[in-house]
Subunit: 305 residues, 6 copies
């Protein structure tokens, strides 16, 4: 995690189990605005170039690509349009959602910067990703996270009913259920994404990769700070369930199908049901970025993430 | 289970593995009609008050809240409207579904009473629940269960094609797949709900809490009574898989990620893959109601539900 | 696997870990065209008879049944209509998708034949299946596989942007995420189907049964051939996670909730997290067809698929 | 006009130019409820028989016919469904309108009786009418009048905003603009109907036939009773414009394209721009019922209605 | 009229008032199929070029242009798509209509040829027409006539319920009401088109131009052949009403707002309410093609068409 | 006309028949921006007060009123939302249109000012107008004119394809066909509006009232300046047809059903088919504002507007 995120990088053992999740502004992820808009400009130009190439090659998709990408002057307009048309319903009209997304993305450049970071992350980490436009248009995990960021801002502004309505639509349309109060960093990959559940007081650092069916859940009826805290660069395998206010240290790996109720130290690996720790310090490699699922197999012969 | 449900409380070992799932009327859940409509009136007045408060505070949501809640004279009309608009498709129009739900809820007061019991259950058990209206409008587990109750009545009336069509829409829209023949009690919490699968001959008691990705499945090709029977007050953790005509006794807890193929005695806890029993009688506490995921951790150091 | 599928039956240990997934035509599943169209004619006549019976018995469903089945001259028209109306969105119109499906099914009789084989498989294997029309109209796993077959053809024709858009819609609408490049055999049952994920270089043989929440995933950032190869007649239980370029031999069984990172020999059973092998050769029975989840329980007392 | 409509049959010269259009209950058309429901039952049985015949003969239309007619238990349900689906918009949902129509038709049997009278009138007067179901489903004039009757009741109940919203939808969808306060009798044929405009204080008697582009308009800015009063059995030709609080006597004919600003005596004919009277008493024939456009041609050689 | 249309060119005074409108195949317009498809190919290539130019210049419209024109392989596919999406409703789905239009245009090349002739006619006659694509996409008169041609074929095939349903949708969506039995030639311009009504036994020749609010109506209750017969090259001004089985000779002009109940000789002009003849033979000019509204003004000082 | 509109007030007899309709910027109506935004603020506050009153009184309409009015921060947002949802289609999405309207109204304050002037005009002139919100929400003439103003700006910006697409949607949805090049003043009332047609080179002054079925048409094939010029304060009765480049002087009245091909001097009245002039100078009264249809009746006994 970056220095700009003291809440999450302060010694977790001292604070995270005490305070209820006070919604002071710091809960809004603190990732800095894009340094020079260069990344955003470059990514947007790539997206348009890809969409133009695909529209030329595939007439059946051209209308879709013009509607979602090529008719828009900027990435945030394109994203707002796409989300509004995905998440609208007969009682929550697309124009209303479009207004909400355009306004939120304009007022919060950090959301735009995080979306760009996510696009860069997916592109570099997922070998099945065919381009930035593929991610923008087709990855329901990417779209769910962007909608969550808007819901998170609404929650911090105490517009909770609207934030919860947005969460609900994301849960229905993308099968991704992230509580608006949860704080999510940037450079996030939700791969496949179906069934991901992230609870109210969960915190997810930067450059984290989360596979489908992953739960960052609470431990029942307790109120207050009751969900996991995921450090930077963590990789969480498909179907892993992490419950309670535990800390998954930066650079840790959680094996697929694991059930984790304990703190996992940085750069270590937890696997199994119940999860136990295997391996240990492994250099500077960050698995959330390298997506290295396999290097520890030698240590634990019959397992994987 | 209550005294009113003899089918499910008779010694399970004697009957449940024999009879095919005869669809005599008793399969329709036997929860009594609301004693005096007091609960329903009170919950509905709360829902309207919450919706009015939110509509005043959030103009962007007011249209949605008037359409779904504030324009309706009663809870069953509001629920019917909301379900019809959620579940309709281009070939299954909202007006048709609305008619079906209004008619079913009017003819079967037990469905209305169960919906009220579910709302009370969610409100008291889920710390993330922001109000009755939040549950009514946004919890896809709640909505899926109400639609299932209507499908269950249709199934009992031998209107199976319509019941199956309804199941299919619920499975697509909410990602919750409950066979119309399955008997579900009242006071149910399906939290997050994505991926829940409940099979044809499953029976679920009252005051049960089921997390997402839970399967109450069969054991393959066998016909007849082949799915789990879940007692009153049971708590089933995220991702748990219970297979076959086994009995999970009243007040039992099933750990997250567990794979259960055996009977679990009342008030005991099963965890792991394959699941084994830990802990035992623990007083009168019903985990499905208390949502106590953690008290047994001392007994089994590295595990949770 | 049949003799017609050399790619998948050649000694897997020699080739599957080396070559990147070259998209030569052989990746298009090689199931033969229907021998005499007899199966297709017979299944279609059954579907129409069922739909007519249901339309007569249930006026509320008649409009739906005429729109989806009874107004169509053939199974492929009915399927194309149904898929187009399920998968369309505000930016991907139903008429465009209908054209795409009608054209693809006309040009590729093997897709039609595989759909018929799937219908026969579901009907014979799933005791909850109420008829062919039930499967055609209501099984999101069935519909997802048919849409995948069209996406797979598009991928092989290098129309990748359209193939990925189709995958994305299937992932959103049915919560089934199958990469267009994955090769899927015929006679497939995706039961319940929510959350199934099948990766880019996965190959699935004929007569395979896959329950919900099953992942055939990769092992991270590696490019090239990195997903499982599933032999003919395999049965994969709910929530199982199979990762990496491993071979699940013909007739093998994978237990529910298992996490598999190793090759599983033909007709053997793997269970647990991490999965270990139990049992062994068991005659000619193919569990993917018999759906026998229980016969090995004697060998492994507290487990199941 | 019948004896039951004193407001309209009292000497018009004495009252109609004075009183502002007081909205006492008598403005609600006074046509009696159906004597024995026989007409309604018979017409409904005919409609169903026609729809069943057409559904059998034309599979492409069967879904439409089941949705609009054959799935409904009664004429008023069928009509409510059809109107709701025609008049709904993205901000005025079909379920809301359906509720409104079902409720209004149930509370006001005179509206149902008038609809039946209209169906009988169209069937007997329009040689292009292919059956009752043809009128019910396809005549926008018929549908506009039925929606107006509901708007008229709402207006009389002082629910003016809703009445005006309904008028607006009818004007957009059917291009028929009838002010909710206008009183329309029964046995009405609006043939083709495009462009018909009927003002606030207009009164239309029973058994009137009105062709398209007909205006019953006011004379500008004046408030109060300022629109035409049309007697029973009147026939108004295409494009005729009748302006001001004039009385068109029972059984009169107004020629096509006429511009009428004067009273027209009973059973006489007015033609031309400006209209002048031709012909006179012509026996008991009521042109609004006989649709006799031609008998006066001998009197006025080069003209017609 | 051409030699290929004997029904309409036989001495009208002898036959047109006797025979009821027998629906033998000759009622299907007899315009020949395109001589070499050259016109169709050329017009289609022009439409695509225009659409491509506009899509490049106007990103906001590009999605629309790709969906309606540029993604289609041929004019009849583009037209079928556009009509299906215009005329569909919640009970008459676009895919069903698309199928109907594609099938009808494929089976009846004369409809395609007539559409091409209409496009050429509009382009050459209407100074406000900005191009072929403008007409194809935006002229509701053009679209209404094409849909009518399909309804006319259905009527001739005795598929009357479907033909009438199509007429009804055209009347609602385009405010153009053409009875399916009416025979319409080719090279037709319906300019502005709102409110056009053409009755059951009307016949319209080739190269006719009809402005908005024009009625070709019957004279009341009479059955049988009761609507106007319009010769080739006729021009009918806005708001003109022509009633009864009269013959408007080839090359005649009908003034705006006229009410015509008499035969009008070829190449003569009728104006006024009631209409009287002015002018006479005027050379070979065909006003339906030249759109000459003004040359007769010298003859009748204060009038126009 | 005001001094700010020289194009239209220059001696018309000298120029209007010569120049082709050069589209220099002056064609964009020159009405001044609102003097102090006071009118707009006041009208908007009235609209919100009316909508709030109606939402409180009529729960069935509250959702509609919140969606269209009460959730918006300004009149131009409300109008943009309402128009976008009215005019959208399956190939022209509401979000795209919303963007277009919001952007155009922001960039062109004169359009906003003209909309306010129209609202004030309708409110003061139409006795059937129940309030500003009634006009904003329900008057299709008002909505058509506002959409036209946006199309007119697009036309002037040479974005002709988009302008024509907008015209086409307005013509379909509201049955009002105004060419984007036509210049329309402010303070306009299009009452009932069905069937209004206004041609390419027409110019309409300020404070003009136009009833339904009015045509401002050309005279055929001629290119160039060929449509009527309507002075300030003109009143045009229902069904009137004005053809050719004639000048209707300020304060003139055109009778209902008239066919006008001649210049009409200021403050005079033209009636009949063909129209002739009756009456003459009548003081300072402007009929387009006073809606006085009746004062000239004494002069012409059997006629009206």
């Amino acid at each position: 995690m970056t220095a700009g995120q003291p809440l999450r990088t302060d010694p977790p053992s001292q604070q995270r189990r005490h305070a209820p999740p006070a919604l002071h502004p710091a809960v809004v992820p603190s990732y800095p605005p894009p340094e020079s808009d260069n990344d955003e400009s470059w990514v947007w130009s790539q997206i348009k170039a890809e969409a133009r190439r695909d529209a030329d090659a595939e007439p059946a998709l051209a209308s879709f690509l013009y509607a979602t990408v090529l008719s828009h002057p900027s990435l945030d307009r394109s994203l707002s349009f796409h989300l509004a048309n995905k998440l609208c319903s007969s009682t929550l009209l697309s124009t209303l959602l479009y207004d909400l997304f355009v306004g939120s993305l304009a007022a919060h450049p950090t959301i735009r910067a995080a979306a760009v970071a996510d696009l860069l992350a997916v592109r570099s980490r997922d070998p099945a990703c065919a381009g930035f436009s593929h991610c923008l248009l087709n990855y329901k995990g990417f779209l769910a996270v962007q909608a969550h960021r808007v819901a998170h801002v609404l929650w911090a502004q105490n517009r909770r009913a609207l934030a919860l309505a947005l969460q609900s639509r994301v849960a229905e349309v993308f099968a991704v259920d992230i509580h608006p109060a949860a704080a999510i960093g940037k450079g996030i990959l939700l791969d496949h994404a179906t069934g991901v559940v992230i609870g109210e007081t969960a915190v997810v650092g930067d450059n984290v990769s989360i596979l489908h069916h992953v739960t960052l859940g609470g431990t029942g009826k307790a109120v207050g700070d009751r969900h996991p805290k995921i450090g930077d660069g963590v990789l969480i395998g498909a179907g892993a369930t992490i419950l309670g206010n535990v800390l998954i240290g930066a650079g840790a790996k959680i094996g697929a199908g694991s059930v984790v109720l304990i703190d996992v130290p940085p750069r270590s690996t937890a696997v199994g049901n119940p999860a136990r720790l295997i391996g240990g310090k492994k250099g500077d490699d960050m698995p959330g970025e390298s997506m290295d699922h396999t290097s520890f197999i030698q240590q634990w012969s019959d397992y994987t993430i």
